[in-house]
């Protein structure tokens, strides 16, 4: 069963940073299936850059745990996909190696930060890919490109080998053309890993089931309020209507902590990032420092030249928020806010099985449309709550607005990834 597949796609969208022209594969559940990997997941002997110039040429001497799992099930790793540098962005325009284009409309962004993985699937180059989701980085590009993406419950997929941006928020997750693909890929990558101390012994052995009769769906008012494009909201409401036709009931609800959830998210991720990204100094890996200069000067030079603007901005924000005198006001508060978000979800999930709403407040932006960082951050408002709470969330295509795909987001109770997959599957089966 083992062999090699040829992979030389016509990559019109700049979805890949690296392609493996001859990709070996083995036997198993994914025998011979071409899988694209987001470039922040370490692949032994394949360059892994996080789309950053600071990691240009870096070839990991080890595999991320998920890569070992994929290979053990016979998958062919065909390439590494473009992304916002270190995952910091919502458009994949923040790549150090040029933006990825949206296959649905090449004047638009594919979303981010896993934009390359989404475009590789939407553009028909692969059927499945791995992404990572810190604040929506799987679900946003899935919604913008019209594919399916799952952010698993925190701890269900090992992060070992995922180049950390914000450890307490992010998860590796499956992306695919269909819910069935996503479910299949999740089955391979989920499970306990002793190398990740936050890992859970919750393997995923599930075949999607479209039966949702009696399902109770919470509809949070905040997901249809200010800042959400009315047409996008309409498309999503109609999609939820289809779920009701299938026997589900809806219950209005509210997530008051969403008022500050986005701020809590950005404080947390920038703080963690400022520490995670401090190691890139050009000593053990990365661009050579200037030997004539002293360590400190050389270090600063490497970093100011090789990191993009957004990465430097977030490192600075995190450095500031963690500095003495500000820790209590920012980081501590953000952690309290996270607990409040969790408490809101727990309260709602006592009454409903899943929560549904739009994945993104709008359809895909035009390239270069979002130039102001804060307005870019605001686009993550609907996806970050799931990361703050650690709960599973899936985005499934549910129609179009302005001719562009719209994503239906379904969030579930902690470790009930199977259920959000089932709801997405029910919707997908109903419309196809």
């Amino acid at each position: 069963m083992s062999g090699e597949i040829s992979f030389s796609p016509n990559d019109k969208y700049n979805a890949f940073l690296t392609t493996c022209k001859k990709a070996p594969h083995g036997s198993g559940k994914l025998a011979g299936v071409a899988v694209a990997i987001k470039d922040n997941i370490s692949t032994k002997d394949i360059e892994t850059t996080c789309a950053s110039k600071i990691l240009k040429g870096y070839v990991p001497p080890y595999n991320a745990h998920v890569i070992d799992l994929l290979k053990a099930e016979g998958a062919a790793i065909v390439g590494k996909t473009n992304m916002d540098e270190f995952g910091m962005g919502t458009t994949t325009e923040n790549s150090g190696f040029g933006p990825t284009l949206n296959p649905c409309d090449t004047t638009r962004v594919p979303g981010g930060s896993s934009g390359g993985s989404a475009a590789a699937i939407a553009g028909g180059m692969v059927t499945m890919a791995l992404g990572s989701d810190t604040g929506g980085s799987i679900r946003c590009p899935a919604a913008f490109c019209g594919i399916v993406g799952l952010k698993p419950s925190y701890g269900r997929v090992s992060r070992y080998g995922l180049i950390a941006y914000s450890n307490s928020l992010e998860q590796i997750g499956p992306m695919g053309k269909t819910v069935a693909d996503v479910s299949k890929l999740m089955g391979v990558i989920a499970g306990y890993d002793r190398h990740d101390s936050t890992s859970r012994d919750k393997p995923y052995n599930h075949t999607p089931n479209a039966e949702i009769k009696g399902l109770k769906i919470g509809i949070p008012q905040e997901f249809f309020g200010e800042g959400v494009n009315p047409q996008v909201a309409d498309v999503v409401r109609k999609a939820i209507g289809r779920l009701e036709e299938l026997g589900a009931t809806t219950v209005p609800c509210s997530i008051p902590s969403m008022e500050y959830a986005l701020a809590a998210y950005y404080v947390t991720c920038t703080c963690e990032a400022s520490s995670n990204l401090a190691r890139f100094d050009g000593v053990r890996y990365g661009p050579a420092p200037d030997w004539r200069k002293s360590w400190h000067d050389a270090y600063q030079e490497v970093r100011s030249e090789a990191f993009g603007t957004e990465v430097r901005r977030r490192i600075m924000l995190g450095t500031f928020a963690l500095s003495s005198g500000y820790y209590g006001r920012y980081y501590s508060k953000a952690q309290v806010a996270r607990e409040n978000v969790r408490a809101d979800f727990n309260r709602i999930f006592a009454d409903v099985d899943v929560i549904a709403g739009p994945t993104m407040p709008t359809v895909a932006f035009k390239l270069k449309e979002k130039s102001d960082p804060l307005s870019m951050y605001l686009a993550d408002i609907l996806t970050v709550p799931a990361n703050l709470a650690g709960i599973p969330s899936i985005s499934v295509p549910c129609g179009t607005s302005e001719g562009m795909p719209v994503g239906l987001q379904i969030m579930g109770r902690m470790f009930e990834d199977e259920r959000v997959v089932d709801v997405a599957y029910a919707y997908e089966q109903e419309v196809n």
Binding site: G57, Y58, V59, P61, G155, R194, S197, T198, R200, E259, Y260, L262, A263, A264, Y266, V267, A278, G282, V283, R284, Y285, G286, P287, A288, P289, D290, W291, K293, S294, W295, H296, A298, Y299, Q300, E301, R303, S304, T309, R312, R313, I315, M316, G318, T319, F320, R329, Y330, K333, A334, Q335, V336, A337, R338, E339, N340, R342, A343, D372, P373, L374
Partner: protein, 89 residues
Amino acid sequence: MVSEKDVQHIAELADVGISPDQLGTFTHQFNAILEYFDILDRVEGQGAVAHDLINILREDEVEPSLPHDDVLRNAPAKEDGFIKAPRVM
């Protein structure tokens, strides 16, 4: 509000550098973001982070280290098995 001087100082602390022509825009954007973060002042409650995972430990067992070539493979410069770094001062 942080001043351009503050932003310059933070850039130093974070060792990311910032060019003089970027400083104005950077400071402006920085302040807009910090102003947005002010909403956290409204967060109530003391919710200590609830961890249901505790005492995650491994046994004290030796596992193979990386082959020496793999250790040095990505380093821009090395000497006698050491990894080279700029002088510290």
